[in-house]
Symmetry: C2
Subunit: 194 residues, 2 copies
């Protein structure tokens, strides 16, 4: 008795399986964090065989990176921040950042990423690599500021996220975009201004 061999490359519905796996990965990494979301559980949620997850995405790390990268595509977001007068970069960064996080389809995914990063060395490494290599390195190419200042700007925005979306500390959690711009744009401007 030999199991029938499936050739995933020819599998019908490949692109929808791929999308289903990514969607399932985002749900489970978000709910459980990196360590507790197994490939098997993600495959089960997506209704596919675990082998297919490995076929499309390789390791769990690679799947996490793929799942993590979707919500922020640096190539789409960074021009919104970097294009425009340098003296308004603080305001542009705060507004862009808040609008992305305010999207109810995206914020649970971002919270999941933070959860994975605080509970797993791998999750921390992946997020660090993402922030460092995919975000800050590109901003550094465009702006002539020390890397420490990029770290400082990012740390302020991560702190806002922690209070607004993870701890839900008031009044920050319910503040309007305008209030947050008034408070945080000058801070970012000081870190990133010319």
């Amino acid at each position: 008795m030999t199991a029938p061999t499936r050739r995933p490359g020819r599998r019908p519905g490949q692109s929808s399986s791929r999308a289903d796996i990514l969607a399932a990965a985002r749900v489970l990494f978000g709910d459980r964090g990196y360590d507790k979301a197994s490939i098997r559980a993600i495959a089960g949620e997506a209704g596919v065989d675990p082998a297919l997850v490995h076929h499309f995405f390789g390791t769990k790390d690679e799947l996490f990176a793929a799942a993590m990268e979707f919500p922020i595509d640096p190539a789409t977001i960074l021009p919104l921040i970097l294009t425009g007068p340098r003296e308004e970069i603080g305001e542009r960064l705060v507004r862009t950042f808040l609008r992305i996080w305010q999207d109810p389809r995206l914020s649970p995914q971002f919270v999941g990423i933070i959860r994975s990063a605080t509970t797993s060395k791998t999750g921390a490494t992946l997020l660090r690599e993402f922030i460092s290599s995919r975000l800050l390195a590109r901003v550094a190419e465009a702006l002539d500021v020390p890397r420490m200042n990029l770290n400082a700007a990012a740390s302020q925005m991560v702190g806002v996220v922690m209070f607004r979306y993870v701890l839900e500390l008031e009044p920050l959690a319910s503040a309007s975009e305008e209030e947050l711009v008034a408070l945080f744009a000058p801070t970012i401007q000081r870190y990133l201004g010319a």
Copy 2:
């Protein structure tokens, strides 16, 4: 066959059992986060019966609060920040904060608190309540600044912690106290200055 009744109030070595339980709770909440650190496991680590944990600390929430509160005693820390010239409060806050976190006995506990807060609603609630009621409310009594500004100052320091101790993002993770004061004290001063 009746098990011998122990009256915990008269139990010999009560204070060392209590300290052992707290120490075990800090280790397990730190390693596993709030949800995965069971009372049973904490009791096992401390070498006591689970009933004794409940006797001393009540619920798991109460044990967490007790374990969480030890590393920062607001009554000890806040005067270091609040006493002195108002125009130097940013520098005092950054230095005090960094010195507490640099203590190798304390920083793993704080990381454990953040881990619990990101992975558990209860952990998030406890940390939010702690920050809000035990820290910011007291600072608000001493300084006449809007609560939003206190949130902003705390968010910047939480962001520093996330990058320095959780994600270990460079160069922030290896920066000296002086570099961090130069970068962050003016930010805190802007939020908390008169």
